[in-house]
Amino acid sequence: MNARPIPVLLTSLASAALLDGQGNLDLVQETRGTPVDWGGVYGQLVRLTGPWRLVLHVDGAAQGLPESRVDARVTDGRWVSHHRWDRLEIVQSVAAVMDPPGVLRTLRCTVTEGPPIALTVESSWSPFLLPVLVEGIRPIHFEVETRGTEWRVRQRGFGLAFRSTVPASQLLINRASWRGGQYAGRVEELRSEHEVRVAPGSPAEITFLVHGGLERDLGRSTNLESVLQDPARAGGASGVDDATWTGRTATLRFPNAPTLELAYSLARTALRRLYSAPGDGLAGLVAGYPWYSSIWCRDLAWMLPAVLWLGDFDWTERSLTSVFAFQSRSTLPILGGEPGELPMQISPGPIFFYGTSDTSLYYPGLVSRLVRHSGRRASVDLWIPAVQRVIDWGRARTDPETGLLRHGGEVETISAAAASLARIRYGIDAPDTTIWDSTDRRPHAVDIQALWYDALLAASGLVAESVPDSERAAYRSLADRVLDSIRRRYPWPEERYLYDSLGAQGPVRKVRPNALRAVSAGLLDPNVAHEVVRRAAEGDLTTPWGVRTLSDRDPTYDPQAYHDGQVWTIATSWAADAAYHVGEPELGYAYLETIARHLVDEGGFAHECYRGDRPEPFNSCFLLGFSVAPFLTSLFEQLWGLAVDAERRRLTVRPSFPAGWTEASIERLSLGHGTVDLKWTPARWTVRWTGTEPLTVGTTSGEVVVPPGESRTLERTVTAAAGSRPAEIS
């Protein structure tokens, strides 16, 4: 599985370049069963171009950049390749820039001896100009116009601009020569030719910039000229920002497990690639690359806990603000929205859609998490009404007898709303939209109930001073009913597992990893929870490369069905989490190692999913946020056993390190306004705290209060017979 070329993903907060590392912006990826080229430039979550290729011409001979490539590397956020063709030495640099949102591409051409060379650089690409939320569409008709040395291309409200530091000597549309001006019609390809002279001691440099997204934002940047005049600085800016961000996040060291330590570092870097502030005041993380490069709020919800552990409270706050801003206040069948519902997806425009059963349910818990990590209450108080509306949305779809949340029919609502209006109609017959949204799990999937329970409890804690006691009691009472229903109705004794859902015809007998979410939420009797974890570890659900979405013993199992057989990395994280929860640290660690191997083998990315019958990515984004973020969260919460309470300035550490480990450490764990450094050995804890008030740290060796700016050590004597003996505080 490691034979596939590793993609190169360059990002700024508002743009991305996708390439295969061979020389051009090409990136062919198997997509839904067929190869598709996802290479090109992305800006403001709009795919601006298809593959972007440069060809060199000298004296009638032509050479593509991939054919002349000598070597390449990523450095300071830029991809730099070295090419050699006859006497020409070429260094190419590709970088994503934020302002304007786009991609810079610079060629520096040199010769060391001989006569001057007349070099023509030919650039070609096809415009796309549609948000990535529509994965399978490339618009056909565009408006093209030249303005001085710039090309502008428009498609409805989306637009891009193409500039170069060497004006084009020749323009072509669809391979036919064009004198410039204005053109409207079908566009397959836009090509330009740029002539430079290269002589010994007189190198030539040409920089291209493609930028855009929303047409109304084109031309607003005041940065354009400086970006073109100093491409090295502009191109390196994202690298500088990344380094600054990384320097503020926690560093985890596992000297006894170098692969795990490397995987942590890779996953953190991968998560950073997904940060996005694409415009219109939006902030968040895109779901993945290449075809989920927009802000999916369910995926964001799985990423934000990791972002909090990394200490980026500001980004979490901005992300939550972005999502709550698009909470539906009324019934919008055309967008699948109901009052109180949070969006499935948001993009600049702004463009947003609703219609999932789970997205809204994550957010009350996320608000609670933000408070626990940061101690911040200002935004939280503003979000309380939104949290209440989420609960009202859930209550409107709750079974009055069981308290269970009812889901399904969300996409059908959209189709029905549009049915009698258009001459052209299209749709996907997806009857249900849980996290496994291509399969029908109606109407009471177990993980949705766990989320509903969590949302009710979180809301009850958050609204404490904002609503009457009776309302808060109603939240808790409903949570109790959900809990009771889960404990009484879902256990599946024959399988020692939980039913996947409860339907009108009775329980749905399918072994899926989703049951593990009820374990992690602490909803089950400990014996039942333990049995569920052991059952999930059997070979029909757990493979050496991760956890399947459905047991391979199920009659509907299909190894290449997205949610009915494929292995998903997020499901592997769920299994790790649940195993630690029931006190099976060896099993939990084995799952974490599986994900760590993927991260290392896949060059720092983690695929969305793999075939169910062999460890081969299939129909899989090469990077998905919810493949890397839950892994990071598990390292903090399960392996390290960390729990935070910034308002009470308290940190609890109950690690479950593998037997034989001799040391581990964390540097710069953010908590409220301070950071904590932790060092662990079997004989000693050392805690350092930078906050302004004392921090109470509870460990397996006892509790210690650490004054601001100081360190404390907890000694313990390890005896061979009796294990460890707590605790001396120095």
Binding site: R32, F128, E135, G136, R329, L332, L335, D429
Partner: protein, 160 residues
């Protein structure tokens, strides 16, 4: 205009107004851009025309979902056309393939921006001013059926 259609339009107006009030006019505008682009980028407008033995039309893109499809079915005015009478090719010069030969091993493949010519070799009764075409696709990777439906008036006859 039927009462149902009138009601649907009123509902749409109400929803549009709600979006504008809650999220601003830019939102409404941007949603329309996306909807219009999708509408106009899959079926090539006015490409539906009569041939000597049936119909032909052109798709310029996949039906929302890209990729490989193990099953494709086409219906004209609600009547499913036998798969051996529906033929497709990416463009001039490429070989025609019938829907009958499509399977998980030999899927029908479409990628963003790729053109597909479709020919239906099934005589259509004369006198119909407008025809409704529905195509259903089953992906090799994601189970739910994807469908695309359009209606258009028939253009002048072209060679089949």
């Amino acid at each position: 205009m039927t009462g149902h259609r009138f009601g649907a339009i009123l509902s749409l107006l109400r929803q549009g107004l709600a979006v504008e009030v809650e999220f601003g006019s830019h939102s409404l505008e941007a949603m329309v851009w996306v909807a219009e682009t999708v509408e106009r980028s899959v079926y090539e407008p006015h490409s539906l025309c009569r041939t000597a033995d049936g119909l032909r039309f052109v798709l310029n893109n996949p039906p929302l979902r890209t990729g490989a499809f193990s099953w494709v079915s086409l219906a004209v005015d609600g009547a499913v056309v036998p798969p051996e009478r529906v033929w497709t090719r990416p463009g001039p010069g490429s070989p025609w393939k019938s829907l009958q030969g499509i399977s998980i091993e030999h899927p029908f493949e479409v990628r963003p921006g790729e053109r597909t010519e479709v020919v239906i070799r099934d005589p259509l009764p004369l006198g119909r001013p407008e025809v409704r075409i529905r195509i259903e696709f089953r992906s090799v990777a994601i189970p739910p059926l994807v469908w695309f439906e359009f209606s258009d008036s028939l253009g002048p006859e072209t060679p089949g």
